[in-house]
């Protein structure tokens, strides 16, 4: 815990953005460990994969494009400090009269949750209660969550895939991109070197295992921690590793951008489709009971399908975001070449 605070404090003060990013990753990872000690294994899994994994990759990708040194400053900002202290004070004020954490008779544990804990094994028949709440009781939230990822994928594509415009009019506004940079080249594609034997061999050995593990997480989420989201992230991580080691073009030839866009959409449609089918069969939206003659079997089938939908969308969206960032580097590199000529 104290490590956590130390980590965040140093994020605030460190000036090199690479170091700050790494510290953020470490904070996420410590957080994941704390989540395990708090019994939230699924969340810990996700936090480790997302916070310490994917988001670090994204930050580094960005820093490669924008430069990693923060401008010398930091002057002391009084206004924000006052606001922060005020927010903290309100939260501290709320501590009194608050139920003590960890006690079994808190309202959190006595009102809605017992139903999930006591009845979900019989109503849904899935041992992992997090999965049953996630995919069935609050399945609509998860549908929304899938949509959030879809929206992010769409948004990043919209923002980053734009061609450069007004080239002929005002070239002087386009500041050359490697100005103010600290010695790093702008392109990520250079990462895929042809000559590094060891990474190649290790990656070739690792990637199949990553995919197998992802599939295990995907379909085993009913019984242990895991599920579509975590599996999707792992799957995407496998392909990203592939892209980093063997260059982006190879990865693109495996999974093309067009296919990714199709897959992002397909995942959402699969999830929504399950809902629509259950409507047609006479239930409410996402009511899995009607999917099979036996309600529990129906729940099983429904959860399996929607988790698959989540997995597909997450994998594809993560890849789309990654491709967009790296593709941007290519675009910039191409432009820099043009300018040189």
């Amino acid at each position: 815990m104290l490590l956590l605070i130390a980590g965040t404090m140093s994020v605030l003060f460190v000036r090199n953005l690479f170091v700050a990013t790494m510290l953020l990753g470490i904070v996420s990872f410590i957080m994941a460990l704390i989540f395990i000690s708090l019994d939230a294994v699924d969340v810990a899994f996700t936090e480790a994969a997302v916070g310490a994994g994917i988001s670090t990759v994204l930050y580094i990708g960005t820093l490669a494009l924008v430069g990693s040194q923060e401008k010398d400053q930091p002057k002391f900002a009084a206004g924000p400090l006052v606001i922060c202290l005020a927010v903290g004070a309100v939260l501290y004020y709320a501590t009194y009269e608050m139920p003590r954490f960890g006690e079994a008779n808190n309202p959190v544990h006595t009102h809605v949750a017992p139903r999930y804990i006591n009845d979900s094994p019989t109503e849904i028949g899935v041992p992992n209660m997090v999965t049953s709440v996630l995919a069935s009781y609050r399945g609509y939230d998860t549908f929304g969550e899938t949509t959030v990822i879809f929206a992010a994928g769409i948004g990043v594509l919209l923002i980053l895939r734009q061609r450069r415009r007004r080239k002929n009019e005002d070239d002087e506004t386009d500041v050359p991109l490697d100005e103010g940079k600290t010695g790093r080249s702008g392109s990520l594609t250079g990462l895929g070197s042809q000559h590094d034997l060891i990474p190649h061999v290790i990656a070739k050995l690792l990637i199949p295992f990553i995919f197998v593990f992802a599939l295990y997480v995907q379909f085993h989420g009913d019984y242990g921690p895991g599920g579509g989201f975590q599996a999707g992230v792992i799957f995407a991580a496998g392909i990203i590793l592939y892209a980093l080691v063997f260059s982006l073009d190879y990865a693109r030839s495996v999974v093309s951008e067009r296919a990714i866009l199709f897959l992002i959409s397909a995942g959402v449609l699969l999830y929504g489709g399950v809902g629509v089918v259950s409507m047609m069969l006479g239930g409410n939206f996402l009511d899995y009971n009607v999917l099979a003659s036996d309600p529990v079997a129906g729940q099983h089938l429904g959860i399996l399908l929607v988790e698959l939908g989540v997995g597909i969308t997450v994998t594809a969206a993560m890849l789309a975001i990654f491709y967009a960032f790296v593709g941007r580097a290519d675009l910039i590199a191409a432009k820099a070449e043009q300018e040189e000529n």
Partner: protein
């Protein structure tokens, strides 16, 4: 293990640091990092809420060995935070892609420098 309000206070401190980073730093990437910290701290708050002392992860342990019914921690906050983590990464991705584009058209990712430019642009 009863941990009282310790987690909650850690949450407050992390939240304050995150928020302060967002508001006081003019580097856009640093702002995004602060925002991520700010969101992560909220995860800690929710998860701490779901813990029951002496409880175990909310996955049914089957088998006849299971004589004394175990106490499971509350699964609901876990579900909510899974969603919130996803929202967090989505925001991060979108924010960073904006940073990249800003760097391209303004040549800097420092907010103050951009503000100085605004009148000319």
């Amino acid at each position: 293990m009863s941990f009282g309000f310790f987690n909650y206070w850690v949450f407050i401190i992390l939240l304050m640091i995150g928020l302060y980073t967002v508001m006081s730093r003019s580097n856009l990437v640093k702002k995004m990092i602060g925002l991520s910290l700010f969101q992560i701290s909220v995860f800690l708050f929710y998860i701490s809420m779901g813990k029951i002392s002496g409880g175990t992860a909310p996955i049914v342990v089957d088998g006849p060995l299971d004589t004394a019914a175990p106490i499971y921690s509350n699964p609901l906050p876990h579900v909510l935070i899974l969603t919130a983590i996803v929202v967090g990464i989505a925001t991060t991705a979108l924010g960073l892609s904006l940073v990249v584009r800003i760097r391209e058209s303004f040549g800097t990712i420092d907010e103050e420098e951009i503000l100085e430019m605004k009148d000319g642009a």
